[in-house]
Symmetry: C2
Subunit: 225 residues, 2 copies
């Protein structure tokens, strides 16, 4: 199944993929680690990122974020509370981000990538379309909240299959939602065997330090810093 | 804003819209009311429909449902527990339903539409792409769960603007999620002034009878039965 999705991506999206290679090169040259965060609308990408970015900055790791939304700059305003450089892409009806949107905002922004250790892209809330668009990221992080149902990996296998890491959000609501932790893990592993899973809560902070440690070690591994 | 979205829909999707006119005619001729249910993945469309369909059948209203998913027939199996005729459309990677999928499944199914009062289409979980595809429905119902954040209407205005009715789901979780009911209503109304809103819980059954009464009265109004 994995092979099939990759083939579709290569065939249809050659222009985006071609541009993604260039952007990935820029990220590598700047020695930063780039992440693409994808999920349903309402999974809690922004709350997770806000908490994580605040804690990373407090620990001396420079970060920045680019936030995609169909409409409004609410999320950029929320993330900016972390104190990090943040910029909003309003897609005006479009259901996913493409490389060209990222690069044109980066160029216009004038942000010096060399000053960063981590660069976060928060994609449009959508478990289907962003699957097919490589944004030059090093890691694609798919988020899934305990409120959404444990079957999401089975219903959106291309997205979960294309991701490198899974983050379960809103663990503080696991009780009232009767979240079946084991079933969620089994379903994720059935679609993407071996995928690393983090259980987190932006409200209590649970799991955030572990995820930050993971990012730091991934940057060391992939950038040899 | 409403006008703008309608213009885009008319320009780009004339083939789908043309077919939708035909399907709408079939629904009208059969004197059934057709509904298109749209939401994020994990909002609880299936749980809401399962409860509603069971209660409608118990009250002597014949219903059937067509369920769209990127992958798996889990939702059709769940809805079939209501005892109603149910069929699954697996879109195999596609992010929305189109009229052609609905009509080809209807033709293949051999379901006699004249025996039905209500026909439900559960769209793929996606708050962006299904916006632009008229499925011949009489009413488009957008669902929003208390776990997703009150800002969804502001972030996905085309979808909320294109819908006729809003259903808030998982009201039983409003407490633990610190759901701001007034803010959610205000945001929905700002995008689609005057939209009817139902607050429901598939778990407790709250709000379901009111929604069923609404559907019955809408069928009377639109089908003169």
């Amino acid at each position: 199944m994995a092979t099939r999705y990759i083939e579709i991506r290569q065939g249809v999206l050659s222009k985006n993929d071609h541009l993604a290679v260039g952007l990935r090169g820029r990220f590598q040259q700047a020695q930063l680690l780039a992440l693409n965060f994808v999920s349903s609308p309402g999974t809690g990408k922004t709350a997770f990122l806000e908490r994580m970015m605040r804690d990373m900055r407090a620990a001396g790791h420079p970060v920045a974020a680019l936030v995609g939304d169909v409409q409004t700059d609410n999320d950029a305003k929320r993330l900016a509370r972390s104190g990090a450089p943040v910029r909003q892409i309003v897609t005006d009806g479009m259901c996913h981000l493409e490389v060209q949107m990222v690069t044109s905002h980066l160029d216009d922004w004038g942000l010096d990538l060399n000053t960063l250790e981590f660069f976060f892209i928060e994609n449009v809330g959508n478990l289907v379309c962003p699957t097919w668009y490589d944004l030059g990221e090093d890691l694609r992080v798919v988020l899934l909240s305990v409120t959404e149902g444990e079957d999401k990996p089975l219903k959106y296998p291309p997205m979960f299959n294309s991701a490198d890491v899974a983050v379960i959000t809103k663990m503080d609501l696991a009780g009232p939602c009767e979240f079946d932790r084991e079933l969620a893990h089994t379903n994720i592993q059935s679609v993407r065997p071996g995928m690393r899973i983090f259980e987190t809560s932006a409200k209590t902070g649970a799991g955030i330090p572990e995820f930050i440690d993971f990012l730091i070690s991934e940057r060391k591994r992939l950038r040899s810093v």
